[in-house]
């Protein structure tokens, strides 16, 4: 019995370390500024935060699975209140477990484990009955495959007959009549392989009549023999070891069903929270259109960086881009011209799409990426230039072990920690190798030498890739930035001058100005 609200076929593995599922998760969170997004989804709930982090970062690559989630999400948006009640039922069930914590469930002794597990199971059976009643009442309000299957499974698996059988066994498991065990002889001839048997404890008729060969001998431990009583208790415990394990594991399985239900619903509740907040800030919200990894697609209208939209009060400018069939997008142009914002908005939208969520755009249509990677300039690392290049290349090498065909990697001002000629050469070699390995590259850069080598008259190396899109951050009128990118080839200068002027208002212009023009 599964919840299956995130996938028609598999469970999301919440127990695996995020580190192993998405080794670059820390870089993604930091570079794409995902904490703002996740905090909004969580609305102060730590559990929601953790679940949303995991689901957002564990991208799905099957477009059908993405639309499966999109339909469940649509149900959640429309029936937010009822979904909230179902979530609460799961939360309450898990609270029962904590209340019953003291019932020896966590003891080392099978006898205590068994009685604790039976107590747990009795409480869980009550909740299962409630769950079935809930499904019965609300199932017709939900249209998605995910919810339909969930409610149908609950009604068929938890029928009356089954629940009665369970209750009957829970009585038997109290073992009012003592234990019957079978055993075999071990290497030192003492008993091994104790197995709990179910059988009557009545004496046999032959013995009552004292006829035939003896097939039965017995003894009784004297009252004073404490060691004997203890040894006997251990034998009983060994006998019920497996049944105690089965009962305790069953209690855990049912509990984990409720945990899974709670976690999967938590993700959708987080999405509903985020959607409400984005709409409050007049940010467009739409369900994206995912397509297979090939042909490459990336087309959007009014694409926003959701983190920026949530953080700033002013108007956030969106971008319109058509980058279908382009394995390489190079973004150049003015400082503070919205290059990094655009790169982050694409990264965020791709993650949001591939977790089944809406995106912050009027329209977003893209092929799925088999792994998203970010290689951003790190502010915190203000060591010597040489050390910084070393660090950047270390990160690049680390990604090289994880990148696969159809991955997407976003570079932001990478390999600029050396002079332009050398930095460009490094960047060129890396990008060429990535493109040949079918990795999609979006590269924000100041390295004109590097960027221009991919233009029509540049030399991107022996195999100049087809399908390069150049985007440029434009210098607005009077130095005011429109934060809007246009399709245009790189220019040999950057726009540090007017950023400088805006920030420092022209004072100390002499020396600093000269330096920033260099």
């Amino acid at each position: 019995m599964k919840a299956h609200l995130l996938s028609p076929t598999r469970d999301l593995d919440f127990s695996a370390e995020l580190e192993t599922v998405v080794p670059n998760h820390e870089a993604l969170i930091a570079d794409l500024e995902l904490t703002t997004l996740l905090a909004t989804m969580a609305a102060g709930d730590r559990f929601l935060y953790d679940v949303c982090t995991r689901v957002l970062l564990t991208s799905v690559t099957d477009p059908d699975e993405i639309t499966y989630r999109q339909r469940v999400l649509t149900d959640c948006v429309q029936q937010a209140e009822i979904v909230g009640e179902l979530y609460q039922l799961a939360v309450d069930t898990l609270a029962d477990k904590r209340k019953l914590w003291g019932y020896g469930y966590h003891s080392q002794f099978p006898g205590s484990i068994l009685s604790g597990a039976v107590t747990q199971l009795e409480a869980l059976v009550v909740r299962l009955k409630q769950l079935r009643a809930f499904a019965h009442e609300h199932s017709d309000r939900f249209g998605s495959d995910g919810f339909q299957t969930l409610f149908a499974t609950i009604q068929s698996e938890l029928d009356d007959e089954y629940l009665q059988t369970v209750e009957a066994h829970l009585k038997k498991l109290r073992f009012a009549n003592g234990h019957l065990l079978s055993a075999q002889l071990g290497r030192d001839l003492s008993g091994v392989r104790y197995v709990l048997r179910y059988g009557d404890l009545k004496p046999r008729w032959r013995e009552l009549l004292s006829v035939g060969a003896r097939d039965h001998y017995s003894f009784t431990i004297p009252q004073r023999d404490e060691a004997g009583a203890q040894a006997l208790g251990e034998l009983s415990d060994r006998g019920i070891n497996l049944v105690a394990n089965a009962a305790a594991r069953s209690a855990d399985h049912i509990t984990s069903y409720f945990q899974m239900l709670r976690a999967e619903l938590a993700f959708y509740l987080g999405c509903v929270n985020l959607r409400t907040r984005l709409l409050q800030r007049d940010t467009p919200v739409s369900l994206p259109v995912p397509t297979a990894a090939r042909p490459l697609r990336l087309a959007c209208t009014d694409l926003r960086d959701p983190a920026l939209a949530l953080r700033t009060d002013g108007d956030v400018v969106g971008n319109d881009v058509d980058a279908d069939d382009t394995p390489l997008v190079i973004i150049t142009g003015a400082n503070s011209g919205g290059k990094s914002t655009f790169l982050r908005s694409v990264g965020c939208a791709q993650l949001m799409m591939q977790c089944g969520m809406f995106v912050a755009a009027e329209r977003y249509e893209a092929s799925v990426a088999d792994g998203l990677f970010t290689h951003f300039l790190r502010d915190e690392d203000e060591t010597m230039e040489r050390g910084r290049l070393d660090e950047e290349l270390t990160r690049m090498s680390y990604f090289a072990d994880q990148l696969r065909p159809d991955s997407t990697i976003l570079f932001n001002e990478s390999f600029a920690a050396t002079n332009e000629r050398e930095g460009s050469e490094i960047a060129r070699q890396i990008v060429r190798a990535l493109l040949e390995a079918d990795v999609r590259v979006l590269f924000v850069t100041h390295l004109y030498d590097f960027a221009s080598s991919f233009t029509a008259d540049g030399d991107g190396g022996p195999e100049r890739p087809s399908g390069v899109l150049f985007l440029r951050a434009e210098r607005g009128e009077g130095g005011r930035r429109p934060y809007k990118l246009v399709a245009a080839e790189p220019l040999p200068t950057s726009f540090g001058v007017d950023v400088y002027e805006r920030r420092l208002g022209g004072s100390f212009a002499g020396p600093l100005l000269n330096r920033s023009r260099d």
Partner: protein, 546 residues
Amino acid sequence: MRSSVEPGEADGREHDRRSDAHEHRPTAPDAPAFVSLLAERVADDADAGEPLDPGCAFDLRLDQVVEAIVRGHEESDYLRTLLYRPVAELDAIRYRQEVFSDLEDERLLAGAAKFAEQMREVREHLSAIEKMHHPLQRQGWFLDAAAIYCHALRSLAETLDAAPVRSRAMTAFRAFLSGYLASEQFTTLEADTSARKQRLGQIVYDVRIRGSHVDVSRYDDEPDYSVEVEALFERFAQGEVRDYRRGYRGEPGFNHVTAQILELVARLFPEPFAELAAYCEVHRQFLDETVRRFERELDFYLSYLAFAAPLRSTGLRLCLPEVSDSKQVNAVDTFDLALANKLVGEGKPVVVNDFHLSGPERIIVVSGPNQGGKTTFARTFGQLHHLAALGCPVPGSSASLFLCDRIYTHFEREEDLGDLRGKLESDLVRIDQLLRVATARSIVILNEIFTSTTIDDARFLGEKVMAKLIELDLLGVFVTFIDELASAGEQVVSMLSKVVPEDPAQRTFKVQRAPADGLAYALAVAAKHNVTYERLQARLTRGSTR
């Protein structure tokens, strides 16, 4: 010689029955009888050379290597003695190399290791019985020990028959073993053991526990209730949950309650228990002395290979060297075994080096920056020659080494630094002694000597020592900061510890004859991280569909 180690004669009382069996053992006419896995002619190591000097073992870190090899092994003293004692003859070295060569076969090595493990278990069983009181318990353990023993020998014989055995030692042992396994004594033991195990293994009984009352009866096909309970909740099974089974250490074993139960079981099933008692009487002594000796000597090989295995699994190579009287030595991809053992344990990479001496070349002078692997290189040279003289595989993908009479080392000792004048004196005294006893067949390894005096003095003394080394025509490594020594003559080869020219602080631990060439800094760094075009191209897998 041969007759003195014929199995069965060592202890007449214990081996009477078996000696009878041996008389009829078929032996291939050409195959010499098995004597020892370590040497062809004698069972003990009388032919062996002098043990390695402890100071030398310390300088070369061979003490660490030896300790790492013997750690956890039952007879560590015995192994330690073997590992410090080189064999003086080329043929004796080859005798052992042949065994190592046989053990390169993975199935044979696994089979031999399994055999050693099982024999250890047999001996542990037999010594455990000494401490047991209940006769039924003793009988059970004894039967089990014999079962393991029979099984161990059978599977060893199968392994030996299937493996490409070529060594003199293994071939002789294989012949011995096939005779022993065919002997009546062994076949009877094996048949009896298996029959007893089978009868007792078939017994299944019931224990009913209700309060303090215990009832023992024959098992009557009652259903397994755990299975029923598991099936009941199967529909909820998802993912992994905690295992609540209590991890009972071993079985309940013996106490007065289980003993009472067992006695009742023996009354329910009287026949198999009577047969067991008779069996124990008949087979009281079943362990063969030759088998025992083989197992003990086998551990020399197994312990060395077990030590080498983790190193090999990281891609490092060990090989059987060609050992000869030629001073034209060489080794490829070699490394310091003690350092490699430490680094591999820490998950760090190991740098390998090559060396070769040809024509008149005898002495390698190693100079260059500190912390660059000079001392490591010097140790490697010494270790290789000691290990080769044991008949063991040595670090490297190939090696030709010299059969030396002795290895002499003089390494800078930290504890001596207090008194500089005293140190120079003691340096001189030790070098003088060393040069007096060294012969043309010796290997001398000097590491940073004369550091306690002025550069002029050091150069003067160093040149004197070098002249003497050249005169002796011995093989040696001389680690020194005195550059001039590197050009003392055609007998001397200069090697440098290499650095990355752009980043002199970085240690490569590479020691080479030729200096390194420079690369442009940025691309060199990119190459260091394996992210140049060529390296990335090799690392990234291209999409197969396009």
